[in-house]
């Protein structure tokens, strides 16, 4: 169902781009915007500092219609599970590239616009796990459980829907909701990661959200 929604979103944007008439005398390049995700800063302060991502992005405005974007961030996780007292830690940078499409590019609304887009993300991290020792079923002895610097190279895709609202002069606010799908799994002989920087909690698919402060130049 989610895949269908994403495909529909892409199909609509493609049709709109094909059917739209090129506006004469309108510059192709219309500026650059720099944004910071507030969600990543607020979350660890007011909700939980167990895991979070801090990120910033740069987007280029092409005819108010296409917005190629590069996002760079740093993901943190330092948490202890309630049930088994397992400590999981990781911290690494992550990168996303993609493009947004403005559905309302013909209106040139001064208020803002709704967009959809896509991203591909990548992070190369290592994680550590500290857990209670295991009891050897053969000898009855105690075996410590510690995993150190287990590598995780993750590659994923994101479907994005969002809104940008102009607030004052070149300053805007933006929301985006993201459906994420993991393409490469970091499964090793020592198990799966629990948290992937930039992606979130490990799983085939997950959701994310950003709340951005945007400066348009």
């Amino acid at each position: 169902m989610r895949r269908r929604t994403f495909s529909l979103c892409l199909a609509i944007s493609l049709l709109l781009s094909l059917s739209g008439r090129a506006e004469e005398a309108s510059p192709f390049f219309r500026g650059v915007s720099v944004s910071a995700d507030v969600f990543g800063w607020i979350y660890p302060i007011f909700v939980s500092d167990a895991f979070y991502n801090n990120e910033a992005s740069v987007a280029v405005n092409l005819q108010d219609r296409f917005f190629p974007v590069v996002e760079v961030g740093y993901g943190h996780c330092n948490t202890v599970g309630d049930l088994y007292g397992i400590r999981y830690t990781t911290a690494a940078p992550y990168y996303r590239v993609g493009m947004d499409y403005n559905f309302q590019y013909k209106k040139h609304s001064p208020v803002g616009f709704i967009f959809c887009g896509a991203r591909v993300g990548y992070s190369n991290s290592t994680y550590n796990v500290e857990a209670a020792p295991l009891t050897d079923p053969v000898t009855g002895g105690i075996v410590p459980f510690t995993l150190t610097d287990i590598p995780c190279r993750a590659f994923w895709g994101e479907a994005v829907v969002g809104i940008r609202s102009r607030v004052w002069k070149g300053f805007s606010l933006g929301w985006s909701i993201r459906y994420k799908r993991l393409f490469s799994n970091c499964t090793s002989a020592n198990g799966n990661p629990w948290f992937i920087p930039g992606y979130g909690i490990h799983g085939t698919e997950t959701f994310g959200a950003t709340y951005q402060l945007i400066w348009n130049f």
Binding site: T79, G81, D82, L83, Y84, I86, Y88, S109, V111, G112, I114, V129, A131, A132, L134, D136, P137, V138, T139, G140, G141, V143, F145, T146, L147, V161, G162, I163, S165, W175, S176, I177, A189, N190, G191, N192, W194, I201, G203, F207, A209
Partner: protein, 170 residues
């Protein structure tokens, strides 16, 4: 001044859209009901099936007792079982070689099975805990009643599969 109501309407509309999108953004947080299906027992077992020399499965028509050799005395894995056709047993977490002694009571004969393995500490998840998985590297046995032994699936984890084939002579 005449533009004011239209501007206000536009602002209201954008606020409405923003509110809707905010709700949609929070929806996954509300409906996500994660949680892995955890196994009850985190200890994995190797599965050994018994075969005749012709390749057919066989049952041991004798009273079979299997024990693991330990420094502090042997530990019984299978106690006086009649008609056994397979065996599931744990491997050591700190050792890389385990020795199992098969005692056939009626015939008064014993055979030993030697299993070499690597151990992999395995992180399942924060909610499901940890485990120790193994990879079989070599197996061997004595030949009083046993004819041969071979690894069929070296990975010992939560997958229910045969790991070792033990062939008895005629």
């Amino acid at each position: 001044m005449s533009h004011f109501p239209f501007a206000a309407l536009k602002t209201l509309r954008s606020l409405r859209i923003l509110t809707t999108l905010t709700s949609l953004a929070l929806l996954p947080l509300l409906v996500s009901c994660g949680g892995d299906d955890c196994v009850i027992n985190n200890t994995v077992s190797a599965t050994m099936n018994f075969y005749m020399a012709d390749g057919n499965p066989c049952q041991i028509m004798d009273t079979l007792t299997v024990s693991i050799v330990r420094e502090k005395g042997d530990s019984v894995v299978l106690n006086r079982k009649l008609g056994a056709s397979n065996l599931a047993f744990p491997l050591g977490y700190s050792s890389m070689c385990d020795t199992f002694v098969f005692r056939f009571a009626r015939l008064g004969v014993s055979d030993s099975v030697f299993i070499l393995h690597d151990n992999h500490p395995y992180f399942i998840s924060l909610d499901c805990g940890t485990a120790m998985f193994h990879t079989l590297t070599a197996v061997d046995c004595t030949h009083h009643l046993m004819q041969s032994i071979q690894i069929t699936h070296p990975e010992i984890n939560y997958d229910a599969q045969e790991n070792i084939q033990l062939v008895f002579g005629d």
